[in-house]
Symmetry: D2
Subunit: 334 residues, 4 copies
């Protein structure tokens, strides 16, 4: 069955989802809404869909599901509203920057019985899925240690950082989700260190650009996350999992798989340096997973609970930095 979509937000991530919907044989983009008319018009023209207001989409009987790509501070309200309207909801992470607000929102979702998927695109990357499959097929035995290196090519503008909730909630949150997924057991304790090394303005805004985090589960499994807002060589996204019988890792992606050899050495091109290019396949797989869940009335591959847990880890990491101690996730989730 074709799932009919309304898209809320026509910005760059909105376009990524519009493209994913168009290329999926089981989906149709019916309408887009955006506060900026020109943005909505441009997207509607490129992807051949209607322009409607959010109110109209809420009341559209020809729309089954919405994709929320609006600013973060609108997410929780929109989730609640469309859950109540009986639409399936796909929302970009995070649900909200406040754990309490997320918990309240998820309660509404639960009460309405709505289908909610919170987007953690990396779980749908083909290479990372192959890593997970190798674990699930038993190739490395029991998981012991997860190592995640995640570095952006460069820091976002100050304006973005101000509203981002800080590096742990904005950037590391993806790695917290990956860690939970790969550990196969909920982290219990968090320690972290944070610095400002790439740009003093980030410090002025009260944020950090260079952080390391260690997560520990009840049984002693651990995950290490290392983040920087700057990697001159591109968008650096690596994972590695050590188990009792071996290890599995995923490598970075480059624009071209070539090598030039000269007197100076052997040089391969820098990494793909934009998250949309790097994760283009992941975004398509993610929407496909949502469509399957809607069609089968099943569980979405990533859930509101995943969004909550990742946010709680972010809050715990920040608290660990602020208080110089190991923080229990239970302190955050109360």
């Amino acid at each position: 069955m074709t799932v009919k979509f309304g898209l809320l937000g026509a910005g760059r991530i909105g376009k990524v989802h519009a493209r994913a919907i168009r290329s999926d044989a089981n989906a149709e983009l019916v309408a887009v809404a955006d506060a900026i008319p020109a943005a909505a018009e441009s997207l509607a023209r490129d992807y051949g869909c209607d322009i409607r207001t959010i109110d109209q989409i809420e009341q559209s009987s020809d729309i089954d599901a919405v994709v929320i790509c609006t600013p973060t501070d609108t997410h929780a309200d929109l989730i609640e509203r469309f859950a109540r309207a009986g639409k399936a909801v796909f929302c970009e992470k995070p649900v909200d920057l406040s754990v309490q607000r997320v918990q309240d929102c998820l309660k509404v979702v639960k009460d309405t019985g709505a289908t909610l998927m919170v987007g953690f695109n990396r779980r749908f990357d083909p290479d990372f899925m192959a890593v997970k499959a190798a674990i699930d097929e038993g190739h490395i035995g029991d998981v012991e240690m997860v190592t995640i290196s995640s570095r952006d090519p460069g820091a976002p503008p100050a304006d973005y950082i101000k509203r981002s909730g800080g590096i742990f909630r904005d950037m590391t949150i993806h790695d917290f989700d990956m860690a939970r997924w790969l550990l196969g057991e909920e982290p219990e304790t968090v320690v972290a260190q944070a610095s400002v090394l790439t740009d003093p303005e980030i410090g002025t805004l009260g944020d950090f650009d260079s952080v390391n985090v260690i997560l520990r589960t009840a049984s002693g499994r651990q995950a290490v996350i290392t983040n920087s807002r700057r990697a001159t060589y591109g968008y650096d996204q690596r994972i590695e999992v050590l188990g009792s019988k071996g290890a599995v890792s995923a490598e970075n992606m480059r624009e071209a798989n070539i090598e030039v050899a000269t007197e100076q050495g052997f040089t391969r091109p820098p990494l793909l340096n934009f998250f949309m290019t790097r994760y283009i396949a992941a975004y398509a797989n993610e929407i496909a997973g949502f469509i399957r869940a809607v069609n089968s009335k099943g569980v979405t591959p990533t859930t509101g609970e995943d969004g909550l847990q990742a946010l709680a880890l972010a809050d715990a990491a920040l608290k660990s930095v602020q208080e110089g101690r190991a923080v229990k996730v239970s302190e955050i989730l109360g």
Copy 2:
């Protein structure tokens, strides 16, 4: 301007081109023709186009260009016919298995002034394009030696081999084209060796499955091509170019870029093992290049002459094997 396409042939390569046309913003697939009605119907349904006969397509004023994906022995006739009908023509290699027939056909194309592109998909592979760009930008100095390793995962069925014109005209022809492109100078002399190692039936059919060829240009540049019809580890497609200042190479593609480490060692997955998956981006770029040429009334990125030269090299290689000597390309082209 949108180029409106008729597709001749709804087989597997026809579908590849249909998909490329659909995903190109400057192209529209108007109609498909196929001798087998079910094949035409299936493709028309999947890609939302009309079903017409070849005659109808020839006379359709709403069709600017055709893509010929019919059996090889129909190519030359169809090229001539659509050239005369004023359509731009994209034809899968080869134009014909006979050098004389190709020469006659190209004369018709020339006389009609038609746009003709002969498909050599590998030139449009992003990695191979990056190799060519590295050469053109001077990173390796003057080209001296080209090395091409090209191995299929497994031999095609006997029926296919019978009609294929033999390994040099069917498989090595792609490598001949790559060699010409990378050498930057026309090969003058060909020596080759050929064996049957993977399946005696191939020998019974008068063909080979394992060949090596050396090409030499007038100035002494050389290219080595090594082919096998069988590589258990996947579709093996590597190129390497040595120049006066260095070398550049392109690596194979895998399904996933992961590595599993155990007591037995470090293992990465086999190669992508199907040419359509391996060259999916190349096919899209190829059609895009054709569309640009049609729109600009310019030269196509690969031409009928390219088809002729590659075929002549194939004939020279076969003659070299048969006569145990170095063969000049001029002996073939007369």
Copy 3:
């Protein structure tokens, strides 16, 4: 000038140093001492040197320098004794398991003006030296993050673990030294997490087998160390340094640089799985560095202070695990 050596301890690490001394044109192995006569005899026969007691070596006027490879609990006493005897001293890490005892010992060394080198073999590995050179030559700009993955092929016997001082003082200590060397700034704060995952007996002995540590310097540079006592695929020793202009990393070493490709994928051999094989070049370079320092009466490339600082980081890491908080190195060094 040839430096004449006495070797204290004829065990496996003693043999490594004997070989390094023999292969160095500026060194001569004069005598060996070992509590087990058979061990001393075997080494003396293989390397063509005398057998003497420790007392005799202390009084030998034909010996300039000693290499201490005896059990850890004898190191500090022997260092003091030979420093007082006017010999140059090379001692395997650690000087002692007690920070206080190390501090007392280093005071004696200082008072006698003796030359003391504490062995941290990894700094002399050619690949790691190339990493350091890349940093020092400015290729990656200012150092920001150091990542060290260090995993043993398997845990040592329980008997060894009992006397080892625990994983931080026995195994991670090498990584603490590498981190200090690569950070280029003294770590100030330590957080760590530790688990028992590979063998419950290790837990029974009060030790851990799986640890992660984050170090932070005053200016905010950070190092992450990840350790496991078990890696089925060999002796895993990787370093990576991120700087303001780029990153540099060193790869593992294998027995053979080959790859076998089959239907199952592409497989390279496991890693070299014994520290003496992995670091054979490092041990030779290390002794050569000591010889140069003795001959030039200069500073040794690694010092007693290096041994002290690495031990303090180990103690801080253990305290961090025990107390669930960030620990300052100054708390340890007092």
Copy 4:
């Protein structure tokens, strides 16, 4: 039993063998002879051996074996002379540049029953041995295609080229030996192409600097050899073998296994660029193999026959270039 050696020739390859003999527990270097007194003195001093004349070594009862490192035109005479004197003989390739002379010399060796090893160092390289072992253990099934890329960092001086016998007899001869070893079946037919691309002076001397050769055995197995006298990125030495069940390859060696990542890309150092450094382990293994053969009175791992066959392939390749045809090895060996 310790094999006592006389070394004929104290040049750079003589030193390589002197070092290999010294580091072998089963060998002793007794004396060196060289026409240049200073060369003999220097080597004798460095390796602690006598200086004798060739006549004296021939008559020395305390010498079991000789290593011939004198100029090529003396090899055959010296082999015959020392074979008659009852010494075991290790001779650097080639025995002679004339097939007839080699055949005559091998007849003398056969008649005297002497032990003769002709040095083909590459067979003793640990990585290439691992490739051979993978084949012998059946990992790739039946051998079908061997691909050898062998490029020198730069051409030797004109004086050397004049006396070298040409690129096929001087450089490719190593690859011919490797091809025979890996094919596991004697090549029957040779085709080759040759050019002068790196330096016109090489052409003036009647030689080539860029050659490609295809070898074919009776059963159809093939080997491709690609050679250049210039590779700016170092000493390029790769082999790859395709079999019915898979493939195995060996990679190049670098000075350091590091990678620097910057905005410009990911760069690894150039290759080791000197054959003595690249093959240091091979030379040691080679002499060890000779010593084992002498001690066991067994067959040497490489023989005079190996030298003859490789030379015949070189002559066949040259004839193929000169006559523009496939040449049978039987035409050369008569």
